[in-house]
Amino acid sequence: MLRLSAVDTFYGPIPALKGVTLEVHAGEIVCLLGGNASGKSTTMRTILGIVRPHAGTVEFEGKRLDGLSTGEIVRRGISLVPEARRVFGRMTVWENLAMGSFIRRKEPAAEISRDMERVYGLFPRLRERSGQYAATLSGGEQQMLAIGRALMARPRLLLMDEPSMGLSPAFVDQVFDIIQTINQQGTTILVVEQNAAVALSIASRGYVLQNGRIAVEDSAAALLAADDIRRAYLGED
């Protein structure tokens, strides 16, 4: 479904990704692991066209994405749950979800409301707070909203950047349960995480990024089992 081939991305003169090759198949949850500044977020930004790769190709469903505008890439069926959530704080919960469906603004309103119902079904808390400004929500609620907003675009591929960051452990489990539910409902997911154990527990495969390169690529079960890899690349004890 998504294929990055030998992608190099630079920030000015500084290389952030070096020859990154990775693949996500339809229906999978793939996990991208790595420490700080390993290139995880840059991979997301490259897929979305926020930064342009200097070399290599990004393909989605067989078509090239590199060179397209972010808006066009989103319209092709990819959406993002960004790091640190970044909901629109001065908009209500409902308005945030409506922004999520921006690319579908020409579709009948009934279609949009059906998806909004689906999001409210996944996150009943959001329905209770639909008229409230997003800035007044708790961190966990904002994370729900960021996920709901991304789903409103009805993506075939959902990118998630550190969905567990800043959440209480109990809530982290809840979020990953929901990620699994979303996947079972038919959305392919590429998730970037520092919290390797939780992320690998729901993923089918994983990649470990280090200094902008793919250091290890294996099934989630194998990565979970390999203590030496976790120690070497993920900074775990």
Binding site: V74, F88, A98
Partner: protein
Amino acid sequence: MSDILAILPQQLVFGIALGTVYGLLALGYTMVYGVLFMINFAHGEVFMIGAYIGWGVLAALLDAKVGGLHPAWVLPLMLVPAMLCTGALGVMIERLAYRPLYVRGATRLGPLISAVGASIFLQNAVMLTQGARMKVYMTNFLFPPAWRFSLFGASISALLVVMVAVAGVMMWGLHVLVQRSTLGRSIRAVAEDREMAAIMGVSVGQVIGTTFFLGSALGGAAGVLVGLYYTQIDFVMGYSAGLKAFTAAVLGGIGNIRGAMLGGLVLGITESLAVTFINPAFKDVVAFALLIMTLVFRPEGLLGEGLSDREKV
């Protein structure tokens, strides 16, 4: 003292009329600041050109000796072309003077200097094509001086009522557009987090262009109303009016649409009261003292949020 109290209602009425026009003009500053974090110093000139277009329509109608001039059809005939042209002019200014700078990663200072340049260019373009002498709005042909009524000792002309009504309807329309429509939501999204807005699929360039169009069109309308009210316009009129409206925008909280409307009203009424109670010569002193006091004591403005979450390099 009783003399002063007797003219107070009258001054309040003038203040409200002036304030709604300041507010209309302030919206242009605040909307552009909202999406680009820059002060569009050419906005005063956009306003001035709106006044010239309105004047041109009215003068042409009078020249052609069209009979039965009535504001009900003449005013739209002045406002619509003025707003369309100034709206398009705003979009052009953004494309030519600002976009080439910020897409190359200029700091906020670059577009600011470019704005001053655009302002000088437009002033001189109007001076060269229209002459340096002032133009006279033949307001009396449209709003006969006899059209007025008394309220609480204030004499209110039909023109004042129309000004407040037109400005009020436009502000209300803008408010509804920004708060309720998909376009309005996308403008707010770009103002709050440009990158996230793009990730939602919003075309940021288009939204910025639309924002310039809306703000400039309202500025053009303000130009026509001010022309009708003061009856004399010239190519430098945008300078002081622009500064006043900018003051109103800062007073209300720059980037905040309701703030611009409120700031305009507060400034208009304060100025009118200063004329009454202090000395007409101190009108501008009071206006700018208000600006300085706002910047010192409440830099985020009356309705503004804390600066920190708006600040952006």
